[in-house]
Symmetry: C2
Subunit: 342 residues, 2 copies
């Protein structure tokens, strides 16, 4: 009986339209992904959801059965393992080295593998070409799914841009996941997936029934932001800011702690891994720092079943330039204090 | 390493705080619910989520196992049945009459029952006191959960306000669910649950792992809106508008179709049920109306496994006053045409 009112085009307040995502946002993202990330897709393959967790939840609901195994990077984004366990799956730890997740021909059979190929969380390394090919082959061979979390991919400061794994997947086994939590802000609750065409309709239904759709007005605002060039400009701007902070932080750490720590120059991201000698436990540094209201994390914070290297994981996304020198000074004093305790 | 920045109180861009919902919103809702709906709860018992579907998804994840049965109203909000089936549960239809869901001592055992006690969707009837008591006893006896969807409860135009079932639950078996989709707008994607204290922490975790948290800035805006009195004023204003539309619609239907339809005066909501004589099928009226761009639904639209009464379900939320008379005129012409066809 809504009569003529229904004849007006449904505006943003409506429901029932834009299932799977606000159409202009899906179009804008498809265009952006092609050039910025080498992701090949049509707009209908993009599902807009509220977070990486929401994406994982809908994907698990659609693709897995209780008892299935899911490979996770260890150290890694541990929430994934917890979520998989909560969904009735068995998370299986896979080690990470300087070539990323240790993908060998003997990688265990599993229903899915959750990876951060471009910029491993938390080590910051890139999944090597050899490992990438091996992982795609693993998925093809065993009917497995690769969930590619394209974490922090925009924040690469040196070398060539690294294209997403999705772009070199010819068998439709890669499910691309991306959050705007870091790029814009976490409480925005906006993320998206890119899935094979054959799966798009079923996943749209799963996203709807699971209640994973973000508010339409937020989607519309982001669509405009991308279409008007604001998004690309924003990435360029914050990339500059973060690159500068990373340079300063690396310089300061090298200047003040060169005799104790041996820094691997990071290629991007908003964190630096600082390896520590065996006699200075990262957990002790954290505890001492916390007493001085300086928040640092040991790499073991991201460990699940495997032992993590003895190292600090320093985040600088919330660290203004002027605080870098004094923060490193306080950190260096703590590390040197523990060095002397030996 | 976020150092001093972390010492500043986390603003709305942050994550990790306000798990389960933006604290001021939970406080504002608790106060509002007590006076407006007779819902008894502390703020920590309120979980803010993105939709009724999200609430159902998190509740099912926490409380049910595949194969469990879930009672649903038939006719009813059929998405619930679909979602339950999608979650691996078996939806079981329960009929609805003028006293609401037909709750008898022989109600089947089930893990949960999804009900709209205040204003049944789509019939608009209230669950009688007798049936409410029986339903609470059913839950107590069989360790079942009652999911109370407090659908359209603000839009009651005649008689005393009906308090929520939650307020008379002494055994902690009622899980209260409420969306802002109708009260504000659907694409806002904002809803909440009220659950027993013993369940609040576990459900917070489920909401987090399932990715069901709405954006924090939207929660903050609503918290302000409620605290500043705008929300209560908005409800009063739209209640006046809808009551007026309902009066006009009932008057027009009685004036133009009194010899054919026997209208039960509705007590509230944004819809009217128009029973039709057996020889005028509601589905035929719908098809004929659709050809004239007049959108009406047969009650059977909401039927699942049981046959629905032969009636139209007219929504007037999107029908301005000036369109009521002409819309009813066109509807009446269609109904009379089919009456003559006999």
């Amino acid at each position: 009986m809504s009569a003529l009112a229904r004849q007006m085009s449904f505006d943003l307040a409506g429901e029932g339209t834009h299932v799977g995502g606000y159409a202009p946002l899906r179009q804008a993202l498809a265009a952006h992904l092609r050039t910025a990330r080498g992701v090949v897709c049509e707009p209908r393959q993009i599902l807009v959801v509220s977070s990486t967790r929401a994406a994982l939840s809908s994907l698990c609901r659609l693709l897995t059965s209780p008892g299935d195994r899911g490979l996770v990077e260890d150290p890694g984004y541990f929430i994934v393992g917890r979520a998989l366990a909560d969904f009735g799956l068995e998370p299986v730890s896979v080690a990470v080295d300087e070539e990323g997740m240790v993908v060998t021909p003997s990688l265990p059979a599993a229903r899915l593998a959750y990876v951060t190929p471009t910029h491993q969380m938390p080590l910051g390394v890139r999944l090597s070409d050899r490992r990438s090919a091996e992982l795609l082959e693993w998925a093809r061979r065993g009917d497995g799914w690769i969930i590619e979390d394209d974490y922090d991919s925009e924040f690469r400061y040196v070398g060539q841009p690294v294209a997403a794994l999705q772009g070199s997947d010819t068998s439709g086994r890669v499910l691309y996941v991306r959050t705007f939590a870091k790029l814009l802000f976490p409480s925005l609750r906006l993320a998206f997936m890119v899935v094979p065409k054959t799966m798009a309709k079923a996943l749209e239904r799963a996203v709807f029934l699971n209640g994973h759709e973000p508010p339409l007005h937020v989607q519309a605002a982001l669509a405009d932001f991308i279409a008007e060039g604001g998004y690309a400009a924003h990435i360029r701007r914050v990339r500059r800011i973060y690159r500068r902070r990373q340079e300063l932080l690396v310089d300061e750490l090298n200047r003040q702690l060169h005799d104790i720590v041996d820094l691997h120059p990071p290629s991007g991201g908003m964190n630096i891994v600082v390896p520590l000698p065996a006699h200075i436990a990262a957990e002790t540094v954290q505890a001492e720092a916390a007493r001085q209201a300086l928040h640092v994390r040991p790499l073991s914070y991201y460990a699940q079943r495997l032992a993590a290297p003895n190292a600090l994981h320093l985040g600088f996304a919330a660290l203004p330039e002027r605080l870098i020198e004094p923060s490193v000074r306080r950190l260096a004093a703590i590390v040197r204090g523990l060095d002397l305790d030996r």
